[in-house]
Subunit: 333 residues, 2 copies
């Protein structure tokens, strides 16, 4: 019975066992087709025998390509990105990438630290859904790492942007609610840039359509289920009760519905509510929640495709990738 050396086996161990050079084993590991079938078979066997696990630190150092992607999001709990991120992580993993997760919160310095950490690890790409501050372009541009902003389409993206127009999303919602006959919308948004753009889009369109004044309130980022309580209390104090509340996330919409119902109101008859993001709960709530769907899996796929192309040396598309959105009319409005 073969002695198992007590150190973890390296390429060389596999090589000598298979009777080839370590270069050949390396080739086999990274691209099996380039070695002859018979050799491949011997190497495969040798790998299994010694229980070889490649050292990606060494590989990454040598190739300056890490097969690792950083995903930066503000939060995990109740995050509007959850479904998108779950899709993202699944797609990245099955695409052979390792995911480095960073939680930025709302702090720019935290975001910066995480970006530095990612660059330190020579990640192939950084996918960020958080806010971008002014120091980031300089950091990123000196590296070969691809920077991808998701969920928005900034005028001048750092690297690549994959998202949709928040302004259009806002105005689409305005048209929808107007056509449904609502007249006194109340907006509740997290105080982030994107939510602000949606709000502007809504208000502008609403007024263009001849709608009256639009009231609005702000909640902390992220807009969570738990905010529902305070938001509802605030609404009750409004001089005139709105007939529909436009929420910055489905979770907030859910929280608001719960509160409204607890207060004896019927949704949507007494108060209609719409969310944003088409999180899984939106279709499962009672009443089901009218919302905007964003195709997270599509964003993930586009991101991965871009990373691949970029890795192979192709130029990036010189314009952001617009994945659009889709209004989903359900029971709540």
């Amino acid at each position: 019975m073969a002695e198992i050396p007590d150190k973890v086996p390296t390429l060389d161990d596999v090589a000598s066992r298979a009777g080839v050079s370590s270069a050949t084993v390396s080739r086999f590991v990274n691209n099996p087709k380039v070695v002859a079938a018979a050799t491949a078979e011997r190497i495969r066997a040798a790998i299994a025998e010694v229980g070889y696990i490649p050292n990606l630190l060494a590989g990454g150092l040598a190739s300056s390509r890490s097969k690792m992607v950083a995903v930066l999001i503000p939060h995990l709990v109740d995050s509007i990105f959850n479904d998108t991120i779950e899709a993202m992580v699944e797609e990245l993993s099955s695409g052979g990438f390792t995911v480095m997760l960073g939680l930025t919160g709302v702090s720019a310095s935290r975001t910066n630290e995480l970006i530095r950490a990612a660059l330190s690890r020579k990640v192939d790409a950084i996918i960020s859904s958080g806010p971008i501050d002014a120091t980031i372009p300089a950091l990123v541009s000196r590296s070969t790492t691809l920077f991808i902003q998701i969920w928005e389409l900034p005028e001048h993206p750092v690297g690549l942007a994959i998202g949709f127009s928040h302004r259009d999303a806002g105005s689409d919602m305005a048209r929808f609610l107007m056509s449904r006959g609502y007249r006194r919308p109340h907006l509740v948004t997290a105080d982030g840039a994107r939510a602000g753009v949606r709000r502007d889009g809504f208000v502008e369109e609403w007024q263009t359509l001849g709608g009256g004044n639009v009231t609005h309130a702000t909640v902390d980022i992220p807009s969570r289920f738990g905010h529902g309580r305070r938001v509802f209390a605030d609404i009750r104090r409004l001089p005139e009760m709105p007939d529909v509340v436009v929420c910055g996330s489905d979770y907030l919409a859910q929280g608001l519905i719960v509160e409204a119902q607890a207060a004896g109101l019927r949704v949507p008859e007494d108060l209609a509510v719409v969310g944003f993001g088409n999180s899984s709960i939106a279709g499962e709530m009672r009443p089901t929640i009218t919302t905007m769907d964003v195709d997270g899996r599509r964003i993930a796929r586009e991101a991965i495709a871009a990373i691949r192309r970029y890795g192979e040396g192709s130029a990036l598309p010189d314009h952001p990738i617009d994945v659009g959105f889709r209004l989903i009319a359900r029971e709540s409005a």
Copy 2:
């Protein structure tokens, strides 16, 4: 004005700029106190001037320590671990570790791949909340990576376990509900091992206390908000309506409450509901949800402390770390 070389600066660049050897710069980067104050200052300046970002692939390769920790969980959306994982990621990041996130789903092969990927990256530790299959011990034991199972206390953990007794959690809940006067509990659990243990603990204690029969149903992993609908429908078809439903997660409890209320039942008067995990929504729902609190942040801290000690060569505690749990009585039962 100084020319910025178009390649990314290395330790050597910093060293020559500061007029010291690269070894000294390395010392400064990893442990500033060991270099003389004046030298430190020069190095600090040089680092800022050239915009040096350490290459952790190279560092990790040389030191065989990656400062990276893999976190493996089944899901992101509606996961009972969300709050724990958020705490975990925050604590790890501020502790200087990079987090590699893996979503195992319910597949053992997926879990295996992720563990291999983690080992390939020479992570300092793998923190797993998923199910452990028989092939894992062999994989992990040949490496120097610390394996940490969280949220449970298995008899024979692979590496270290940090969690609590699911059996005790089950029996505590049984005692609590009995003392509150409930008589016909119905259990709804995800079909995972841990949930099964809690159920057994509940049933056994319930019967010890002289309670009658306990009905139970199973849902897919993870037990989510959306399951509430089917679970409620099933309950209605039970020969005798339960007076309290014990759910495997707060999200499921929430979903069930929503359904019950939509059907005109009052919670807890007509049907009481309890959850598990003390997710943030539990205290924010109407009614607030009675649940079991598990201190996720404590688990995270214990894990990090263990990783640190292990990295410094200390032996692991030879017994699992029991962080306990706490029943939180709220309005829903």
